[in-house]
Amino acid sequence: MSNSSPGGRRSRLFRGEPKAEVADELAFHLEERVREYVARGMDPDAARAAALERFGNLEGVREECAQMLHEDRRAEARRDWLDDLRQDLRFGVRSALRAPVFSLLAVLTLALGIGANAAVFGVVKSVLLDSLPYADAGRLVRVYAKFEKSGMDRSSVSPGTAADMARRLRSFSGVAAFNFGTMDVTYQGESGPRVIPGALVGGGFFSTLGVRAALGRTLTEADADAPVVMLSDAAWQREFGGDPHVVGRTLRVDGNPYEVVGVLPRGFVGPMGDAGIWFALDLPHYLRDPVGARDQHWLGIVGRLAPGVTLDAAQRELDRLAVDLAREYPKTDRGRTFVALPLRDAMVGDTRTPLLVLMASAALVLLITCANLAGALLSRTMSRRKEFAVRVAIGAGRGRLVRQLLTESALLALAGAAVGLLLAVLGLGALRKLALPVLPPYADLSLDTGAVLATLLAALCTGIAFGLAPALAAGRLEPQGTLREETRGSSEGRRSRQLRGVLVAAQIALSLSLLVGAGLLVRSLWAMTSAPLGFDPEGVLTARVELPSSAYPTPERRAAVFRELEERLAALPGVRGVASVTQVPSPTMSRNNLTIEGVTLRGDGPVFIPYMAVSDDYFRTARIRLRQGRTFGPEDTPEATPAIVVSETMARRYWPNGGAVGARIRVSPHTAERWGVVVGIVDDVRVDPALPAPEPMAYASGRQDFAWTGRDFLVRTDGDPLALVRPFQQALAAVDPSVPLRDPRTLASIVDERLAGRRLPMLLMTAFGVLALLLASVGVYAMFAAMAAAREQEFGVRVALGSTPGAIAGLVLRQGAVWMGVGLVGGAAGAVVVARLVSGLLYGVAPFDPVTLGVAVVALLACATVALLVPVRRATRVDPNMVLR
């Protein structure tokens, strides 16, 4: 091999550049030739000229030889580098195996740090980085209506506005309307009625998104009033077994026949969410409705920016359109502006902040891991310094030593990454169950090649980060001094002691920041869950019943069926109360325009408030207390004056001086013609459990507002609510066997699902915080242990001279406490940064919450105290007879 020859690697260090070397060699040749000619009697100048002439193309030879030498050197260096790497790796594995416990702990610690990052990155990637299932999705924009006065900025538009947008906007090459949400439809399958989510989309929807049918064709403008549908890939597989001849088949949906014209590609989800059946929206039909055309807001808008048009330009055009429409339709279109958002931002919604917070937390954990391992590696370097000193003494270069140690730490990091990826896959499996309802519909949690590569890269950087300081410390070792020192009691150098202190301080600072962040999230979730909801969701089963208008054409007929079902349910054993409502309280419930007689509401434009029509027993079943007046009863016949019950917040906001009861208002379709009268005030209900403050709310009697085709039923029981599902289905079948029971679940689970989006970041961040606390405690332990060990001899002397154990403990504590203090101060600064980061997720707690900070500091100090007890106690028990002998 190259380095087995005499004058091996070391002599190469003294070689010159290939060019200079060749030039020297040839210059020598020429000189000799000149000497020869001079010796033969030529005069020096002539000799020189002759020599040059004889040589010929000096420049060419020089170039050619230098080139060859250069290539040879390069090949040699590559061989050397690979040789070294092989050697380093072999040595690294051997030295890792020599300290199995250390290696195992290091790999485990790293696996936790890297695994946490990989798992969170998997989520971040799938939500924020993966491409949307549309063509050139970066040019797609979602347009929302914004009602300043009602605090609604992600709102829907009316059919009239949607048509105006499609007709007037020039910034978009395509604008399409679609039903804002999805709705459940009943599909008559071979094995009985099945409920499938359906979506309603305008003609330009698929062409605007740039989506082509996997089978058949997509819906177009021409389909507006045609009974045709498209199927999602999932519905096609599930309901039709992937039948390749499905196009042209007829389905019965809600009693009506529809022809399948196409199947959507796999992975496609709409901006409104996932749906199985896609219907054509008959916009012209809604435009003909004199009231609904401009007064009912239920359409979402998606547009594709025309070539060369920026989002800002589109927004400006939308601003002008809002002004124009307000002038043209002052009654319906005032007080409303439009907001254009990139479609991805619209779909990511409010998961972005929690995800970024989690990514930052995971990164903090990894940093703590680095600091922790750097400290551990430093101790190990100190205990191996004899080995290094010997290697330096017999000729190992310092650079080589540093490189060797970096290889060792990178090796540990990669092993940690391998285990960490395994943990991440497991973690994502668990997250998929917990997080999917709160993530955008297109998110598919997985670790693809990119995520794995990113993880490995992060691991390598980690390895270098935590290996660098100890490696440099080893590189600075003085072999002579080290080898001459006594075997025992050689005390740690000042520099490495400081380094260790800085590392511990960093761990404490980072842990404190994380703990404060987690604490703030815990506090705000506490604020959300501890504030009264205003109703009692425990022990209540909910389910929806939709009566198809084909079989039940009149509202009266439907009302009678709903009443009959209610009676049957009330007769079931174990049932304590039954109520039916137009929709259960939820953050997505629809809002209606509010008008109060004789009162001009502040500001410009309409006010929307959550509204529901309820049966007489609703307030009793949901346990909402009556404050004043009455709730609904049999006296509220369709012919009687519409009775309205309002919430306390509504009464206070619109009748601050009292007098709500008896006031005349309009808030629903059945009060469009004649005024309704407020008959009672009930307790507030928080329709969004994630918002601690309740919204104003209005109720009407289901006896008077009964035009709806569907109702949510609430059944209260003493036992398990889900045990009632079967009896409920039987009761429904007794009324009409062709009507399915939709979405039976407990009211508590609806509330819970809404909180899941808040709970998940809190849980994960708390887990990260605990992990950080654990790592920092280990770091504190290691620091005190190393300090105590290093000064063992000194303590022996002190004890021999009469020092008390207390004084010794004081010495150790003082030395370590400085760094802990530095860490706490740094942590307080870090907490400010973290608090700002999470402030968007907080409710009912200030970002700079002294209680949270205090608890975090105390928790950290408590753990640190436990961690330092053992080494400090050991220091106080130094036996001078042992250490000084």
């Binding site: 070397e21 020297d24 040839l26 000799e32 030739r33 020869e36 040879d72």
Partner: protein
């Protein structure tokens, strides 16, 4: 002589370099001088061929160059044979001798071929 691109002659130059170095380490100028004097100035070594040949042989691992001091106290690059170079020299010189003997015998032949009779 020893034009750069002639395969036969290039091989010959390499063989002569190997022979030269078999006496001991020598620099490029010394190698050229020795070959010229050893062949009775019949062969003139072109520098333009010699130095690339040296570097090529170094790459093949037959010879190795190291800086040393010349007879007249100048820094010069001395080449010496490696073990592989020594082996090559043995092989190539035997081969050359057989070739030369065969060619010599052929051109010195006095027996006319059948077709010339």
């Amino acid at each position: 002589m020893f034009a750069k691109d002639s395969g036969l002659l290039q091989g010959t130059l390499e063989l002569l370099v190997l022979k030269t170095l078999s006496w001991g380490p020598m620099h490029g100028y010394g190698i050229a001088s020795w070959i010229e004097s050893a062949t009775g100035d019949v062969l003139r070594v072109e520098e333009g061929s010699l130095y690339p040949a040296l570097y090529r042989m170094a790459r093949k691992g037959w010879i190795r160059g190291e800086w040393g001091v010349s007879e007249n106290n100048r820094r010069a690059k001395f080449y010496h044979l490696t073990a592989e170079g020594r082996r090559q020299f043995g092989e190539q010189s035997t081969g050359w001798q057989r070739l030369a003997a065969a060619v010599t015998e052929a051109i010195g032949s006095t027996q006319a071929p059948a077709w010339a009779r």
